[in-house]
Structure formats: structure tokens, C-alpha cells
């Protein structure tokens, strides 16, 4: 059984945010109005966070692309009263929109703040509907949505592999953010498969996981910047 995970090399990330836009495009994440954005209601399953240290002129800044950590011990599923959020056999933390009652317990429980609540239904103009990705459902008002590691791509890749009578290869299943990254800063694969790059990288001495002390066991690893 695969255990999907991600390694993000902070030395390679230039903070361009192509991953952020690719994610929105792949997953039909609707932009909200300016007023809603001002209230902090914009969704971004993948968000590039800037971490600034020091004073001028000894300032340093690093960019942390932050998807869902797909924790092995996810705090969000423990608080969900209706089992709308769950972790599957391969370690992907998902959200069942049809079951979600919009209580937002999970959004509050998530220390990484990667769960977004739909205060309104998506507002797509007639023209904009043309570019919606038919592989991913749009979400109604009143539910939580989040990064799925582009789970629909896994389903598709698996079907293709099965049709061709072969094993799933590393390059068959890559989320949209990984695909687009111009500096190859994001690496994705099966953490338990020795032939996948992430398997070795997760044991790199530079590895760092966000808020590891909480015991969430995130499956997104960061490679600390070299000095």
C-alpha cells in the first residue's frame, strides 16, 4: 500500500506561486469578491507563505508553499462529528462534501489552517465556467474544502495503469503544484517506495516538518535551507 507524501526544497522555492494558481485551476477553486477577500474568506488550498527574519540589511526570507500536510495523525478527523473528513488507506486526508455539515470544527482543529469554508456557493460567470476542470466537483456553500493531493489524478493514473496492465509509476501520479513548479522545488511520491525520490529525501538531514511537536505526523516534509 502506498503512502503518499511530499518533499518541498526551500532552497529551490523562489516564491513565484505558480503552484498556488495551478492548484486553483486544477481544483476549480473559485475566487471570492474583494469584500469577502478582505474578511479573510479567500481559499487557497496551496498557499505560499513568506517567513521573514532579521532586520535590514541582514534580512532573510524563505518561502514555504503550504498544502494540506496530510497528517498521519490528523487532528481534523478526530473532531468531525459526521465523518466527513477522513484519512484513506494511502494516507490522503479527504473531505466528503456531501456529508459535511459545515460546523467548521475541523478548520479550527487544523494547526496548519489548510481547511477552507465555503461561505457562499462558487461564483463563476458564464464565460468562466468554460475553464472548470470536469475531473473535480465544484463545492456548494456551507462545506469545508481542502487540498486532496489531486486525488482525482491518482484515480485516473491508476485506471490508466490497470488498462495497460502495469504497475503505477512515480511519474504517473503527480499533483498539479508539482507539475508546474519551474524550479522543481516540490517532489511527490510514495514515501514507502524505495524507488521514489521522496523515500530517500524524507530522511535527509535537512528535513523539517511543521509543528511536528503536536504529534500530527505530517506527510509534507520541508528541506531546510542551507546556510
Amino acid at each position: 500500500m502506498a503512502r503518499w507524501g511530499m518533499v518541498i526544497d526551500l532552497d529551490r522555492c523562489t516564491g513565484c506561486a505558480a503552484c498556488e494558481v495551478a492548484c486553483k485551476s486544477e481544483n476549480n477553486v473559485a475566487a471570492v469578491s474583494v469584500e469577502q477577500a478582505d474578511m479573510g474568506r479567500a481559499s487557497s488550498w496551496m498557499k505560499v507563505m513568506a517567513h521573514v527574519e532579521g532586520e535590514f540589511p541582514d534580512t532573510t526570507m524563505h518561502f514555504y508553499p503550504r498544502p494540506c500536510m496530510h497528517c498521519d495523525n490528523p487532528p481534523c478527523i478526530r473532531v468531525c462529528p459526521v465523518q466527513a473528513t477522513y484519512i484513506d488507506d494511502e494516507g490522503i486526508v479527504g473531505q466528503i462534501y456531501a456529508r459535511c455539515i459545515g460546523c467548521r470544527y475541523c478548520a479550527n482543529a487544523c494547526p496548519y489552517m489548510v481547511k477552507y469554508f465555503n461561505w457562499y456557493g462558487p461564483e463563476w460567470s458564464e464565460a468562466e465556467r468554460q475553464h472548470l476542470n470536469p475531473d473535480v466537483s465544484v463545492r456548494p456553500a456551507g462545506v469545508i474544502e481542502k487540498c486532496t493531493f489531486c486525488h482525482h489524478r491518482l484515480q485516473k493514473a491508476r485506471e490508466d495503469a490497470r488498462a495497460e496492465g502495469r504497475e503505477l509509476r512515480e511519474e504517473d501520479y503527480q499533483p498539479a503544484c508539482v507539475d508546474v513548479c519551474p524550479t522543481n522545488a516540490i517532489i511527490f511520491g510514495d514515501l514507502d517506495n524505495p524507488s521514489h525520490a521522496v523515500h530517500t529525501l524524507k530522511d535527509d538531514p535537512r528535513v523539517l516538518r511543521l509543528m511536528e511537536d503536536l504529534g500530527t505526523q505530517p506527510k509534507v516534509y520541508y528541506l531546510r535551507p542551507r546556510d
Binding site: 529551490r12 523562489t14 516564491g15 513565484c16 506561486a17 505558480a18 498556488e20 494558481v21 495551478a22 486553483k24 485551476s25 486544477e26 475566487a31 474583494v34 477577500a37 478582505d38 479567500a42 498557499k47 505560499v48 521573514v52 532586520e55 535590514f56 540589511p57 534580512t59 526570507m61 518561502f63 465523518q83 477522513y86 484513506d88 488507506d89 479527504g94 466528503i96 462534501y97 456531501a98 456529508r99 456557493g121 462558487p122 463563476w124 458564464e126 464565460a127 468562466e128 465556467r129 468554460q130 475553464h131 472548470l132 476542470n133 473535480v136 466537483s137 465544484v138 456548494p140 486532496t148 486525488h151 482525482h152 484515480q155 498539479a176 508546474v180 519551474p182 524550479t183 522543481n184 522545488a185
Partner: protein, 786 residues
């Protein structure tokens, strides 16, 4: 053991997730109209093309479902972008299906700028334009036609130029991104071309204010060199960013050297001082290819100091340190790094060129490349070829056209070198004269939004009786047009897309329609050909092409016949071709032009990755045949102008605030996702304009914590940025990377209500008299709580 209820629900969860992702709208949400997007199983397809949003021209691969463009990804075959893409490229789907897109051609029905329009057919719009242009020629005043064109390198630019020439006008006015390097190359090398930078093979990249990872010619070129995705181990060059502002590029470079505003070039000469003093320069290269290094006797027989004497006498590290604020040890270390990591390349950016003496500062920065022999060598400054596409048919000028062209372009006041500030000079000439321009065409230019002085443009537009815009959106300038004939959007049209000169190899990218063209819009290339046909006579005779697509295909025959290069291919193919060509081989892969064209379209373009480093003409084409550190052209131009400026001496802009009222230095900068005034902003991009996660949609300015504290302003306050010339509203962001006493102001955003928020409008009117480029670092402002 039977499953417990909890485990049962668990299994159901996984099953339901599949349903939710696949087609749950049919099951659960039938009543919600916003979710009914009419999905059905569709036919999926992937097509290669080229991105036309910025000058970088990266390869893209569109994912289509039933003819709709769903996703834009990178094209891994493209040698420049190698499968990567920037956020603007990815957001292209929102540009294509933008709700503000014009539905069809418009003709003004009320007073100018009143917003009253009449919808017309394409035929009617074309007729109207042809009639106006025809009357200009009939009256014998073809030079009354002018074109203001944004970045359009390639066949569109060639076509426009040819059309205007045949028509009888020399008023092709460029309104595009400039970084001042063209003039530096022209005076030092005698080569009228922007330099290419071989970042991939450099070991050290010394960027003087070039926004390499943000809004440079090609951020992707810099990204690829930075991350080196083709290499197994991380062996990309070391990036050193010399910048006033702690930019995104500065933060991600291996080293950031913060210099005082306007002193980049002083630091460059400080580095040169150490290189010469410690005998670290490439003395052999200097002896063979460089003039003006040692003292010399000028054309008037006067003894002059050469580069070495000037630098050794004036740029001792202590003095440089006092001016730039960079410690002596750091200057020495930088110079040693340059010498130890050869090839090293110095890149000159807008922060250097956009200054009152930008050309002289650019010369100083580039002199490092000359001293280190980083010219025409792997990893240095190169002069790339253009893709050898076939020419257009030769121009045919009738009597009217010849007379019109003979009367020359409007506004003869030109800078000595380069063509900076051309658009604004044109506007000023039109505004000041009595109706010299009777028809203005706007092609991807929106000067009302992008100009440093929109009021001059307002005046100019008042004076021009007929204005046509080809913008797909009703942008700020199109609002003042008489006819708007919208162009097709990038993913609907044929266009060639050569990579910018910063990339050392010619790549002739091809953009092709990914989706069915919008019926209300028309390819501006086809408009030009159609207008030529309608005008008839010699104008029609010189552009005998059926369609723009046909014209592109015709020019491609040049690539087919040239016996070098390849259609885009993977890493192995690229390397194979390069190695073959290095050994003087080339294998014909196509015997038939049609098959070649089909493959070129399918793969997304053509490239030739071989660069001839042995060609001496790529080092210097000056009269002396050498790279001139003390350029004869420049010295005589300065003498003619009666200018006091001296090369390598007057390289800093050390203006200080001259009043206590305006005491903060304004540093405007481009944001990669926003740097365009001509295309409407995509909503996804408005949601992540900068590095501050809480700034969405709104314009902002950055100040240092101590500056904010001194002003009594806190983070997120709404402030007025006030300059002698005007003011605008923005959010204040306190950022520890900002130098004290400065205000860093991104441009490209406007207030959500549409009100402009453009820091460029606050700039004082100082410019470099030699290049005509504006000064971006000599304006002072104050902040007031709004």
C-alpha cells in the same frame, strides 16, 4: 468479526469520496444552480503552444476537454522553460474566459470617453478604419498615421512596420519594456542588440538590480538556471543580487548585497578596483579584445585617462564602501568570488538603467564582464542570433508613400542612444503640435494606465481625430478610442513567439489556436492584411498574403531551408543536435516542408541550440574592432552635447531629499503577475499579488518598521502616498526587509473600484538624456494616514 459501526462508516467514507469527486452534482446538488455546470464525459486532448503574456515566451501545453481550455501547463520540449511555468501563464485560462472580454467590435456613439458605444460587425469596423486611412492617403498625408505598439517582437512587429512603411508613415512608436542594456552594447561593442546571458553555464551570476526571478525578460530562464532541473546534482550558478530593495529575487539569491539607492555602479567599479589591484582580471582577453583600458590619446590628440587609471584613482574600497554602504571586506570578498567562480556574468537591470545617468552606470556594470573576459564565452554575455525565418515580401512604395516616409517620424528630438521614453515623447509632440497625427492605432498599448504622465496622453488623444484600439478588453486607453476592433486572445490565434534576447539561443516558439476563435474578435494580423487589401494599390501589392497563418507558414520555409536547428525536442534530442552542430554536422530530418510544418506546430516551435563562440564579430563591431571601455561614440556624443558627464566618474545618483516635506525615497517595482496594463487582471492573480498573504486585490506600499514607527503608522493602515506631482491610496505594510527612509511601491494593481494606484505617476520628470529612460529612484514622497 463483523465490522463495527464506526469501521462501516469509515469504509463508506472512502467510497463516498470517490462519488463526490467524480460526479456528485448529479446525486446530491441538483437543486443548486451555481453547481450545475453542465458536465458530461468529454474528449480530452493536449496541445503545445507558446505563452504570449510576457516577453519570456515560454512553451505551454494546453489541456482541452471538448474544445474548452481547462488547464495550461508547461511544455517540457521548450528549451527555455523546460516544462515550468509562472503563475501568469497558468492563470491564462482565466484570461481566455475573462468576463470583461469584449463581445465584439465597438464604434463610439457619444463624446469621447463617455462610454457610449454602438456594437458593429467586424466588416463595418474594418470599413470604417479603411475609409479613414484611405482618406489620409488620398489627402497626401500618410505620415498622419501612427501606431503605438506594445511588446510584439516577431512577425506582428514586422508586419506592422511593413504596413506603415508601404502606407507612407514612419510613426511606429514602441511602448515596451526596456532595460537600457541595448544602448550599453551599442556604445561598447558597436553591436545594436540587447545582450544574452548564458546563465545556464555561468558559475556566478552578479545581478545589479535585475529582477531575475520576478519581472525580468524571462524569469523562467533564471529559474531554470537557478534550479538546473536537467542536472542530476545541484550545480547551478551562485546568484548574487545587488539591490536596494530586499526583493523576492534578493531573498532567494544565494547572497544579497544591499546598496544605497543609485550606487549599484559604484559597487561595480569597487569590484573592478579589487580585480585590477589583485591582478585577477583576464589580462589576455583585455590585451586582445579591449581598447581604452590603458591611458590613451583621443581623436583630438589630447591625452586621456584610461579605465585602469580612472578606477584605481577613484574607487578605492574605502571610498566605495562610504558611498554604497557595503563594508570593505564584503567588496573584496565579492571581487574574489567573481575571480574564483569563472565564468561569472554581471547582469544589468532596470534599477541601474532607470537613473539620470543610467547609461554610464550600465557601462560600469558591464565593464566587469569585459575585465573577466565573460564575453562571447560559455557562461558569459553572448550575442544571440534571431531565428532565420524567411523575410516578408519586399516593400513597394508608391509616390504618396515615398513622400510620407520622406517627411520622417513626428518629434525629431531623440536621445543619442537607444529609444527610451519614445511613447511619452511622441505624446508630447502630438499634444504640442497642430494636428500632425490624424489617426492613431493602439496595439497592446495602454498609455493612459502605464505612462508616467497620463495627462500628456489625454492631451495627445484630444488632438488625434481618429483612434483605433485592438485591445480585447475595454482598457483605460481603449475607452478614448473611436473604434475598438478586439484582437483574439493568445490561446485563439496564430503567432510566432521568439524568446527574448536574454536567452542565448534562438527559439522560434509558435502560438497556435488551442480553442475556436471568439466570433466577435479578429486576429489583428488578419486586420492588417485586410486593411492593406482594402487600401489597394501598392499597399496591397506588398502584402499579398491570404491570412496571417499563411504568412507565418510562408516565413517558416526559412527555417526549413536553413540546414541547422531542430523542431522542439526533449533533453536528449536537444543535446544530440547541439553536439552534432558543434562538430559541423546536421542531419535533414524532413524532406518535405509540410511534414516539417506539421511537426513544428505539434511540438510548439523551432530552435537552434548551437552558439558559435569562435565568431569574432560577436565580440566587437566597433571601428577599432575592440570592445571600447572608453567608447569613442560616447565621448564624441558627450562632447557634442556639451555634457559634463564623464564615464566611470559620474555613475552614482546620490540625490538626497531636498525638503523635509517629502523625505521618503520612492522605489517603484514591478510585480511579475501584474506587470501589464493591456490585459485585464485574472482573479486568481489578484488573490496573490505579493509576498504578504493578507494582501489581496489592494495596492500596498512597504516601509521599514522604524520608519513606520517614526511616522506613527501601523501595519495595514490605509495611507496616501503623496509626492509633489500627485498622490494615491495604498495599504501600508511593515516589512523588515525595506531600507529605512524608503517606500517600496509595487505597480500594476488598482483600487478595487477601478481607481488607478500607480506609483509611476508620482515620479519626477528626471530622465537620462543619453538614453531617454526615466529615473525611478530620485523621487521623494511622504505618507499620510488616509
Amino acid at each position: 468479526m463483523s465490522p463495527s459501526r464506526r469501521e462501516f462508516l469509515w469504509t463508506m467514507g472512502a467510497a463516498a469520496a470517490t462519488v463526490a469527486l467524480k460526479g456528485a452534482q448529479d446525486v446530491f446538488w441538483e437543486s443548486d444552480e451555481s453547481l450545475d455546470v453542465g458536465w458530461a464525459p468529454g474528449i480530452e486532448e493536449r496541445r503545445n503552444s507558446t505563452c504570449l503574456i510576457c516577453p519570456s515566451r515560454c512553451g505551454i501545453r494546453g489541456r482541452l476537454v471538448d474544445g474548452r481550455l481547462i488547464r495550461i501547463n508547461g511544455n517540457p520540449l521548450h528549451p527555455l522553460s523546460r516544462g515550468g511555468l509562472c503563475p501568469r501563464g497558468v492563470a491564462g485560462v482565466q484570461l481566455l474566459y475573462h468576463p470583461e472580454r469584449l463581445a465584439g467590435p465597438l464604434v463610439r456613439s457619444g463624446p469621447r470617453g463617455s462610454g457610449q458605444w454602438e456594437t458593429v460587425t467586424r466588416e463595418q469596423a474594418l470599413e470604417r478604419i479603411a475609409e479613414q486611412l484611405g482618406s489620409l492617403r488620398a489627402a497626401g498625408r500618410p505620415e498622419g498615421l501612427a501606431l503605438l505598439a506594445g511588446y510584439s517582437a516577431g512577425t506582428m512587429q514586422d508586419l506592422w512596420r511593413q504596413f506603415l512603411h508601404n502606407f507612407g508613415s514612419s510613426n511606429y512608436v514602441a511602448d515596451e519594456y526596456e532595460d537600457g542594456t541595448e544602448a550599453v552594447m551599442a556604445v561598447m561593442h558597436g553591436i545594436d542588440r540587447r545582450p544574452s546571458y548564458d546563465l545556464d553555464r555561468a558559475r556566478l551570476v552578479l545581478s545589479f538590480g535585475a529582477p531575475l526571478f520576478e519581472s525580468w525578460w524571462s524569469p523562467l530562464q533564471a529559474f531554470v538556471a537557478f534550479a538546473n532541473p536537467d542536472a542530476e546534482e545541484e550545480s547551478g550558478p551562485r546568484f548574487v543580487q545587488i539591490d536596494t530593495r530586499f526583493s523576492r529575487t534578493a531573498s532567494r539569491a544565494h547572497e544579497w548585497v544591499g546598496v544605497r539607492p543609485g550606487t549599484h555602479a559604484v559597487l561595480a567599479l569597487g569590484i573592478a578596483y579589487v580585480l585590477i589591484r589583485d591582478e585577477l582580471i583576464d589580462a589576455d582577453f583585455v590585451a586582445r579584445h579591449v581598447a581604452g583600458f590603458e591611458d590613451f590619446v583621443d581623436a583630438q590628440g589630447q591625452p586621456r585617462e584610461g579605465y585602469r587609471s580612472l578606477v584605481m584613482r577613484n574607487y578605492r574600497t574605502e571610498e566605495v564602501s562610504a558611498i554604497t554602504g557595503v563594508p570593505v571586506a564584503r567588496i573584496t570578498a565579492l571581487a574574489r568570488a567573481v575571480a574564483a567562480n569563472r565564468p561569472a556574468v554581471a547582469v544589468c537591470g532596470t534599477d541601474v538603467a532607470f537613473a539620470p545617468n543610467g547609461l554610464l552606470a550600465g557601462l560600469a556594470v558591464h565593464s566587469i564582464n569585459v575585465l573577466m573576459g565573460s564575453v562571447n564565452r560559455p557562461g558569459g554575455v553572448l550575442f544571440a542570433d534571431d531565428a532565420p525565418v524567411g523575410p516578408l515580401t519586399s516593400p513597394v512604395l508608391d509616390e504618396t508613400a515615398r513622400a510620407g516616409v520622406g517627411r520622417g517620424p513626428i518629434g525629431t528630438q531623440r536621445p543619442v542612444f537607444g529609444s527610451g521614453g519614445e511613447a511619452l515623447r511622441f505624446a508630447a509632440a502630438v499634444a504640442g503640435a497642430e494636428a500632425p497625427i490624424e489617426a492613431l492605432l493602439l496595439y497592446y498599448a495602454n498609455p493612459i494606465a502605464s505612462s508616467t504622465d497620463p495627462s500628456v496622453w489625454h492631451e495627445a488623444l484630444e488632438k488625434i481625430p481618429f483612434v483605433v484600439s485592438f485591445s480585447p478588453f475595454l482598457d483605460d486607453t481603449a475607452r478614448y478610442a473611436d473604434v475598438v476592433l478586439p484582437d483574439l486572445l493568445p490561446y485563439e490565434r496564430w503567432q510566432d513567439a521568439p524568446t527574448p534576447t536574454s536567452y542565448p539561443y534562438p527559439v522560434w516558439g509558435l502560438a497556435r489556436p488551442l480553442v475556436e476563435p471568439h466570433e466577435g474578435a479578429m486576429h489583428t494580423g488578419d486586420v492588417v492584411l485586410d486593411l492593406a487589401r482594402r487600401l489597394g494599390g501598392s499597399v496591397a501589392a506588398s502584402l499579398p498574403y491570404e491570412s496571417f497563418e499563411g504568412l507565418l507558414k510562408e516565413r517558416t520555409r526559412g527555417l526549413f531551408a536553413v540546414r541547422r536547428g531542430m523542431t522542439l525536442g526533449g533533453q536528449f534530442e536537444r543535446e544530440h543536435h547541439r553536439q552534432m552542430e558543434e562538430r559541423g554536422w546536421w542531419l535533414p530530418e524532413h524532406t518535405d516542408f509540410e511534414a516539417f510544418w506539421d511537426e513544428l506546430v505539434e511540438r510548439g516551435g523551432w530552435t537552434d541550440l548551437f552558439y558559435d563562440h569562435t565568431d569574432p564579430y560577436r565580440i566587437a563591431q566597433t571601428d577599432s574592432g575592440r570592445i571600447e571601455l572608453m567608447p569613442a561614440k560616447l565621448l564624441s556624443a558627450l562632447a557634442e552635447e556639451g555634457s559634463e558627464l564623464r564615464p566611470y566618474l559620474d555613475v552614482a545618483t546620490q540625490t538626497a531629499a531636498d525638503s523635509t516635506e517629502f523625505s521618503l525615497r520612492l522605489i517603484p517595482y514591478r510585480v511579475s503577475t501584474l506587470a501589464s496594463g493591456t490585459l485585464s487582471l485574472e482573479r486568481w492573480l489578484a488573490e496573490q499579488p505579493g509576498i504578504f498573504p493578507d494582501v489581496l486585490w489592494h495596492p500596498w506600499v512597504e516601509v521599514a518598521p522604524e520608519t513606520a514607527h517614526a511616522l506613527g503608522l501601523s501595519d495595514d493602515t490605509l495611507v496616501w502616498v503623496v509626492a509633489p506631482r500627485g498622490r494615491y491610496r495604498a495599504r501600508l505594510k511593515v516589512f523588515p526587509g525595506t531600507a529605512p527612509e524608503t517606500v517600496c511601491a509595487p505597480y500594476g494593481l488598482r483600487q478595487p473600484d477601478g481607481e488607478p494606484a500607480n506609483p509611476l505617476r508620482l515620479l519626477d520628470s528626471t530622465n537620462d538624456p543619453l538614453t531617454g529612460l526615466p529615473s525611478w529612484s530620485s523621487t521623494f514622497v511622504r505618507l499620510e494616514q488616509a
